[in-house]
């Protein structure tokens, strides 16, 4: 019991850092803003985000899991038209993967012979020949 309590007290600062690190919105005012700016910059430095990974012209902000949709909407609204399409593609791929549906890069057969006009002409001719000879 005493050992467990000692471990918790010893680890407490790490838990606090981990909590605020994951969710900078929980930091008050200017501290949170500064924290978000630094995290965004560090992503670029460490090569975790390339220019292609960032949607929009604004510097990369850290959108954490605790960010609400209502907070994202103004940012999405400000996106360039092309970036809005990229955002849609990204979300569509995310949803497809999450639901176990279509996977990117996978092949799915479509048996329906769409636009098989040569085949249609050949079969029509064959039908005429066969029905005339009867």
């Amino acid at each position: 019991m005493e050992v467990t309590l000692a471990v918790i007290l010893f680890r407490a600062p790490y838990f606090i850092i981990l909590l605020f690190g994951c969710c900078p919105e929980t930091l008050p005012g200017r501290a949170a803003t500064e924290r978000k700016r630094r995290i965004g910059a560090s992503f670029f430095r460490r090569g975790q985000l390339g220019q292609q990974d960032v949607i929009g012209n604004a510097p990369p902000a850290c959108y954490s899991a605790c960010m609400k949709l209502a907070e994202l909407m103004p940012a999405l609204h400000e996106l360039l038209r092309a970036d809005k399409f990229r955002a849609i593609q990204f979300l569509t791929a995310e949803l497809a993967q999450g639901e176990g549906g279509l996977l990117p890069g996978a092949e799915y057969p479509i048996w329906s012979p769409f636009e098989a006009h040569d085949a249609a002409a050949r079969l029509t001719q064959y039908l005429l020949e066969q029905t005339e000879t009867r």
Partner: protein, 138 residues
């Protein structure tokens, strides 16, 4: 008076049941025995498609079918040949339908524009899970 058919459930690759316009019909090749099957009403298909195995059940000899047909999409990779089959739907009279018989096995029996939709008028009521069909008034 059109015949009315229900959409039938099929199992998708994900295991979910899907409702599809599958129509029960009777096929006969020349003077052979009639074969019961379900055909998928595929208004996006340019032609009717007969899977190879169903052709065997009908008694159609592949080598005797000499008119070659080139299909599109996934079926383009498989050889296909023309075959004439008489089809009876419900209480309607027998109608000659021309099929592209493919070597592919997985494909369903497809009823497409040439010439199923030339022979029958079809009305889809997907929300009501049924479709109606009657011989085309030419």
């Amino acid at each position: 008076m059109p015949a009315r058919f229900p959409y039938l459930p099929v199992t998708s690759g994900r295991g979910d049941p899907l409702l599809m316009p599958l129509m029960p019909l009777e096929l006969r090749f020349k003077e052979g025995e009639p074969v019961q099957a379900h055909g998928l009403l595929d208004s996006g298909a340019t032609v009717n498609v007969l899977p190879y195995a169903l052709g065997v059940r009908l008694g159609a000899v592949w080598e005797a079918q000499t008119t070659r047909v080139t299909l599109a999409g996934n079926l383009a990779a498989q050889e296909a040949r023309a075959v004439l089959v008489h089809v009876r739907v419900g209480d309607f009279g027998s109608v000659p339908l021309v099929f592209a018989r493919t070597r592919a096995e997985e494909v369903p029996l497809l009823l497409g524009q040439v010439n199923f939709f030339e022979e029958f008028d079809v009305c889809f009521h997907r929300a009501r899970r049924q479709f109606e069909l009657e011989p085309a008034r030419k």
